[in-house]
Structure formats: C-alpha cells, structure tokens
C-alpha cells in the first residue's frame, strides 16, 4: 500500500509539474496591457522590469519557481488588487467559497443518500418512480437554472432572502447567522444537483448490493431485514460512494464559478472571472495552479480512499 501511495503521489507531482509549466508559458506569453493612467503605467512597467517580465520565458519560469520555493511567492496582482501577493488574494477568497459549498454538501449528503436508499428499497414502486424521475430531471437541469429560480422566487417574488450575498462588512464574518442567511439561496441552488447526483449513485449501488446473493443468505439465516440492509447492503454500497464524497469535500475549495457569479459571492471563482476580465494574468495563473492541484488531489483521494475503505481493493498493489 505504501509503495502504491508513493507511486501515485510521485505521478501526481509529475503531472502537476507539467501542467504548471505549460500553463505558465501560455499565460505569461499573453500580451499584457498597461493602465491608461500614465504614472501608474510607469510604476507597473518598472515593477515588471524588476520582476524580470521582459526576460526570456524560461528565465521567467525559473524566477517563478524560485519565488515559490524560497518565499512562497506565486506572483503579484496588478489589477484585481494592486501589488497584492496573489497567494494572499486566493486565501482571502477561500472562506466564502468553502462556506457555501460545505453547507451545500452537508445538506446534500444525508438527503441524497437517504433518497437513494429509499428508492432502491422501494424499487419499481411509485416511491421509486417519483424519486427516479425527480433525480433524472434534477441531475440534467443546469445548476444555474436552479440559481435563477431560487433567486427569483425566494429573493425577488417572496423577498425572504437578499438577491445576492451580503458583503463581509455588513454581515460581520463568514460564519455569522446573517451571512449564512444571505447565503441560503446559493446553498440551496447548489444542493439540488448534488442531492440528485448522490441519490442516483446511491440507488444504483444499493440496487446492486441488495441483489447480491449474500443478502438472500443473510435473510435465510434469520437476520432481520433492516439489520441485513444496514449491515450487509448499505455497507457494501457505500464503498464506491464514500470516495466520491471525499472528492466532493476537496472540491468544496474550488467551488462553483457560475453560482459565485450569480449570487456575487466574493469567492475563488469570482476571483478567476475578475482576473480574466481585467487581464490580471498572475492571478489567472494562481487560480490555474489552485484548480489543477485540487483536481489532481481529488482524483488521488478517490483512488486511495477506495483502498482505505475496502481492504479488498488495493488497486495496483502487486
């Protein structure tokens, strides 16, 4: 197992390195625009000169790597927040993203699994048909459509919630009740798809687990149905479900760009969009590095957690 983990981590780092290199070259080669303000433009030009933006691309890359290794410096923002280190910008924007997505996940996991289990137990009956139909619709409809509907109905028509998330200055913190109240529509909009996806997955896995022969045997040897379902079917069904949940937990940090745009959540996704619109390419690079790392990490987490959860599956262990 240890050898396998080491191999996977090494592979991850290799892939990560290649992606970062290519992205760096592509992003650094983008034409940069100077602000129209002459004084500011001069300052920027000087700073860029000092940071080596005019040097050959390979030299720039080495400077970039050196900055990361020696000072954890991923670059500087020029337009989003003048001369702010991009790492700080990113960290600053993590809390709202994590808050919204984590709450959405906390709501969706129990409901999703419950619906999935319920559907599988009532397979073919009206309960199952209703759940399955709902799941099919809610899985297919794009998340932003929920966002529009939630925003319109709860925020505009009924007026129960604000249209967009409160700024930090009004709410006083990311976890204050006031902030959570304003985040509720966004959390709700994110949950629909999440619940449906999880319910669909759980149902499929549970149906398979319930049909297994050991289920017939456990009933034959006199176990109660509820006991057999809980201990023999659900546990087996959860083996593939838990890794996806682990991946979702990691994905919480990346968040949903479109939901952040619609509800004006000052999160990582919004930072990305602003960086592109303003042509702030160091921030763009930071976001790319961050998204790439999270994506690779969740892939690794899925594979490894399979091994931890189910000792029978030790993939690749020779």
């Amino acid at each position: 197992m240890r050898k396998y983990i080491l191999k996977r981590v090494a592979l991850l780092l290799f892939t990560f390195f290649i992606i970062v290199t290519v992205s760096f070259v592509l992003i650094r080669m983008l034409p940069r625009e100077l602000p129209s303000d002459k004084a500011l433009a001069d300052i920027m030009l000087d700073r860029w000169e000092a940071l080596g933006y005019g040097k050959p691309i390979l030299v720039q890359y080495l400077i970039y790597l050196k900055g990361i290794v020696t000072a954890w410096d991923f670059g500087t923002s020029w337009y989003v927040e003048f001369r702010a280190p991009v790492w700080d910008l990113l960290i600053e924007r993590l809390p709202p993203t994590i808050t919204v997505n984590l709450f959405a996940l906390l709501i969706s996991i129990p409901i999703g699994i419950l619906l999935g289990v319920l559907a599988s137990l009532k397979r073919g009956k009206p309960t199952d048909l209703i759940i399955s139909l709902g799941v099919m619709i809610f899985v297919s409809v794009p998340s932003y459509v929920y966002a529009f509907v939630v925003q319109y109905v709860l925020g505009y028509e009924l007026g129960w919630f604000p249209l967009t998330v409160y700024p930090l200055s009004i709410a006083g913190g990311w976890l204050t009740p006031k902030m959570l109240y304003s985040m509720f529509p966004a959390i709700l909009a994110l949950s629909f798809g999440e619940v449906a996806g999880l319910a669909r997955f759980t149902r499929a896995e549970m149906c398979e687990a319930l049909e297994a022969e050991h289920m017939v045997f456990s009933r034959a040897k006199g176990l109660r149905r509820s006991y057999a379902i809980r201990h023999h079917a659900l546990r087996n069904a959860l083996v593939p479900i838990l890794p996806t949940i682990v991946a979702s937990v990691i994905g919480v940090m990346a968040g949903s760009v479109i939901i952040e745009e619609i509800f004006s959540i000052p999160g990582v996704g919004q930072l990305y969009i602003r960086a592109i619109n303003l042509g702030d390419y160091d921030v763009f690079m930071m976001n790319t590095v961050f998204y790439t790392f999270l994506g690779l990490l969740s892939g690794l987490a899925v594979d490894l957690s399979y091994g931890f959860i189910d000792p029978r599956i030790r993939v690749g262990e020779a």
Binding site: I19, S132, Y144, V145, I262, I276, N287
Partner: protein, 498 residues
C-alpha cells in the same frame, strides 16, 4: 447385466419439424435489435420527440417570422410575449406587465388611449391600461399592455414618406399621424410625445379652473385639456418642417403601435417577447438552438472519431503506446476545462473566431474519456478466443481492430457520444454566461449568449432568462434520457440504473 428390450421403431426423431417452421429467432441484427429495444422505452420516445420538436422549432421559426432578424426595435425592447390572435380575442399573450403607478403615470397612460382616439369616435382601442388595482393612497397596481405603453413618438420623415403614411392611413383605415404638441408652458417634457394634454412643470395633468390651472386627480373617464399645436385658424397641425433647405424633413407625431404595423406590415406578434435590444426573442432562441446543437453535435462527432482511433490503437497495441498516451491523458485531463477554454479564447478568439476556438477547447480534452472507454473495451476483447483465432488465420491487425473488436465498443461509444451533447450545451452556456466565451461579439447567438444578455436585468424581465433556460433544461433532460435509453438498449443486462 440385463438390458430392457426396446423396440427399434421407438427410436425415431422426436417431432422432426421442417426447418421453415422454426421460430424466427434471428430476424434482427444486433443494431436493429438495439434500435427496437431503444424505441420500446417510453422515455426515449418522448425525449426524441421533444428534441425533434425543438429542432423543428429552430428551423421553422425563421420561416414563419417574416420580420428580418436584424430588425432591432428599440421601442419594443424587453417586452413579454404577445400574440395578437389571442390578445385581441381572449386577452392572453397580451404583452401584459404589472406596474405600480401614481396618478401622474396613470394619467399619462390613460391619455395615450384618449389621444389615440383623436378625431375618431371609435373609443380607446389603443388604451394601454388593461386593469387598475386598488389605490393605497399613493400608488396603484396597474396591468399594462406593454406594446401600447410606448404610445406616441416623434419621427422626422421625408415628404415622400409622409405621402406614403397618409396613403397607408387611407388604405388601412387606421390612424397613424396625430397632431403635434404645442411647445408652451403646459408642455413639461418636449421629448415625450405622449404629453398631449396640459400639464404643470412636474408633468401632472392640469385643467382650467376658476383660479387658474389646477392639478387633476386621476379617474377613468377624466377629461384632459389638449395642448395641440394649432395654426391661426385653430386647426391642429400634423407636421412641421425641420432641417436645412436642401434636406427637407418633416417632424410628425405617430402612434407607435400603428407605426410598427406601417413599417412591418403586421401587428407586433412576439411568441417569446423581445430581448434586451428589441430583437424578436423567438428568432434569437431559434438561432441559439441551432448554434448550440451544431456545436454540441460537431464536438460529439469529432470526439467519437478521435476517441475511437486513439482508444483502439491504445487498447490494441498496449505497451509503450499505451503508457505514453496514459501520461498524455493524465496531463490533459488534469488541466481544468475552464482554463483550457479561457486560454483558447484569448489566444485564438480573435484569429479564428470564437466558435472554432470553443470547438478546439472542447475537442482537446473531450476525446479523453471516449478513448478511455474504447481502450477498456479493447482490453476486454483483444485476448478473447475469436480474436486469437482470427490472428492465427493471419488476419491483419487493421482488420482485427476495426472488424472484429471495434463493433464491440460501438455500444458504449454511441452512448457516451450521446451524453457528450448535453454536456457541451451546458458548458457552452456556462462559459457564455460567465463571459469567458463571447459569441455575441461575432453576431452569433447561442443559448448561452441569450443567458448572458439577460444577466443583470432578468429579475425585472424574467422571460429573457426563463425561456432560454427552459430550452436548455429541456434539451439536457431529453439528451440525458436518450443516453440512458441507449445504454439500456445496448446492454440489456445493465438495466436498473436510473
């Protein structure tokens, strides 16, 4: 050992039926069989009909709507749906909007109806007021026909055009030209062609009373004092000259609802209403469906071809090829798609256009999963006996790959390709909404462009968002159901998954 003695004649074939009477087991080939199974699913049938209907809508709509889709009508922008066939008789699809208005606004709307019946006893067929709610002291809820709400506008026309307008009035029996408004102290807004009645400087309607002019409260049937421009004889004036001597123009006041008919030869009928700039939303949605489907299907086909080729080679030969391609796959699938799309747009957007660069972005990473599926299937089949037999007989690699193994992968491949379509439609609309892809810049409308056009203003004009969003949702649900149906039909053993 004693054997029982059995008569020889008992040994005869049991009911030796002639071959013609064998049940027709092998009447259908694999694909025909799959197709039949597919059509047996009610959900697949419904989804296919929905998609066909949406596609037909996108093709037929431009044929039925004779207004040119470049016609932008700034006066009729962001308006809800209206179909005069229903609006005139049943009162539905009437372009109705709710407004909260005080006396001043209400009087202005009311005056449109009254002003339109000038010199005509026909009454107020042009009144934009559909219904008035209870007053809460200051404002009232008013149901308004948003197409009549525009009321009158000023136009500057040439003499020829004026002739044509009067000709149109005669032939149609509708009034188009209305008297101009006097430019005096009773005209509070010179640009507003709807204030034909006397108002104070605030815009409130006034009437002559004993002690000078007094503000009038609003009530239905109120009498407004007109403030038309008149000549010495007291006759109303319909046009005044404007411009220089060589470019003579005439300033006229027209009722926009009728002016629209004069211009377009038809009543304003908008199935889905109008968009933020005054284009027909139905036309734009139709165009959006065409572009979105076109992009999605193109991506799906390209992925199919590339994925099949790469996956087949990867799966069949394995070894170094497989190892290298696996690393390439790792790297390509590790890049977040949003970054790929952004980079393609920034680098290629100006050079080859937004749509091709979007296609490149989709294809760059899209074929990976297709290739993976094909590869997995090849791993499953390449060592089976029949392949071994073929190889022993000296069949060439190419033939083994395409004729012997590849057909086994077609099921998953077709299913996966069908499921690519909703994914692409969704991603395209998301990227457009976020502004990462800007198809609108090139004058192309996709479903995502419509969403991004509506962003920011849609809370006040929900139809701008609801209609494209519903179309996208319908397409996604249908394509997903088709994908599921295909999966179940290709692999009946898998049945049961949602």
């Amino acid at each position: 050992m004693e054997y029982p003695k059995i008569d020889k004649e008992l040994f005869r074939p049991y009911k030796n039926k002639p071959t013609e009477e064998l049940p027709e087991l092998s009447r259908y080939g694999y694909f025909e069989d799959t197709f039949r199974r597919f059509l047996k699913h009610r959900s697949s049938r419904i989804s296919i009909s929905i998609i066909v209907m949406i596609a037909l809508f996108s093709i037929i709509t431009p044929l039925f709507i004779t207004r040119s889709d470049t016609l932008m009508d700034p006066y009729y922008a962001k308006l809800p749906m209206r179909l005069s066939v229903f609006a005139d008789s049943l009162g539905i699809f009437s372009g109705r909007v709710e407004r909260r208005l005080g006396d001043k606004g209400l009087t202005r709307l009311y005056a449109i109806g009254v002003g339109a019946s000038y010199g005509d006893s026909e009454g107020d067929g042009y009144s934009p007021i559909l219904g008035i709610g209870e007053s809460d002291g200051r404002v009232r809820n008013v149901a308004v026909d948003s197409y009549l709400e525009v009321g009158f506008i000023y136009r500057t026309v040439t003499k020829d055009e004026y002739e044509r307008m009067t000709e149109w009035e005669r032939s149609e029996g509708k009034k188009l030209l209305f008297p101009l408004i006097a430019d005096n102290e009773y005209n509070s807004d010179k640009r507003d062609a709807n204030l034909w009645y006397k108002t104070d400087s605030e815009g409130n309607a006034v009437a002559k009373a004993i002690s000078g002019y007094e503000a009038l409260p609003f009530f239905l049937g109120m009498t407004l004092e007109d403030n038309y421009l008149r000549d010495e004889g007291g006759e109303v004036i319909y046009h005044t000259p404007v411009g220089t001597a060589d470019a003579q123009g005439m300033r006229v006041r027209v009722l926009y609802y009728n002016y629209y008919q004069y211009k377009n030869g038809m009543k304003p009928d908008y199935l889905f209403g109008t968009d933020s700039q005054g284009y027909d939303l139905a036309l734009r949605v139709a165009g959006g469906i065409r572009i979105s489907l076109l992009i999605a299907i193109t991506v799906s086909l390209i992925n199919f071809v590339i994925g099949a080729l790469v996956g087949a080679v990867e799966g069949y030969y394995g070894g170094t090829v497989d190892l290298v391609l696996e690393r390439v796959t790792d790297v390509l699938s590790g890049v977040p798609f949003i970054v790929v799309a952004t980079l393609f747009q920034i680098y290629l957007g100006d050079r080859v256009g937004a749509i091709p660069s979007l296609l490149f972005a989709f294809v760059l990473t899209g074929w990976l999963s297709t290739a993976n599926r094909v590869r997995a299937q090849f791993f499953r089949f390449k060592n089976s006996e029949y392949v071994l037999a073929a190889r022993t007989m000296g069949v060439k690699d190419r033939r083994i790959i395409w004729r012997h193994i590849f057909p086994n992968t077609l099921g998953t491949l077709i299913t996966a390709s069908a499921l690519v379509i909703p994914g692409v439609i969704f991603t395209e609309s998301m990227l457009s909404f976020l502004g990462i892809v800007n198809l609108g810049r090139e004058g192309v409308t996709s479903l995502g462009t419509l969403l991004s056009d509506a962003s920011g203003i849609w809370v006040n004009y929900p139809h701008l968002m609801l209609i494209p969003a519903s179309v996208i949702s319908l397409l996604m649900i249908s394509f997903n159901l088709i994908g599921n149906g295909l999966r179940d039909s290709f692999d009946p053993g898998m049945k049961g998954g949602v």
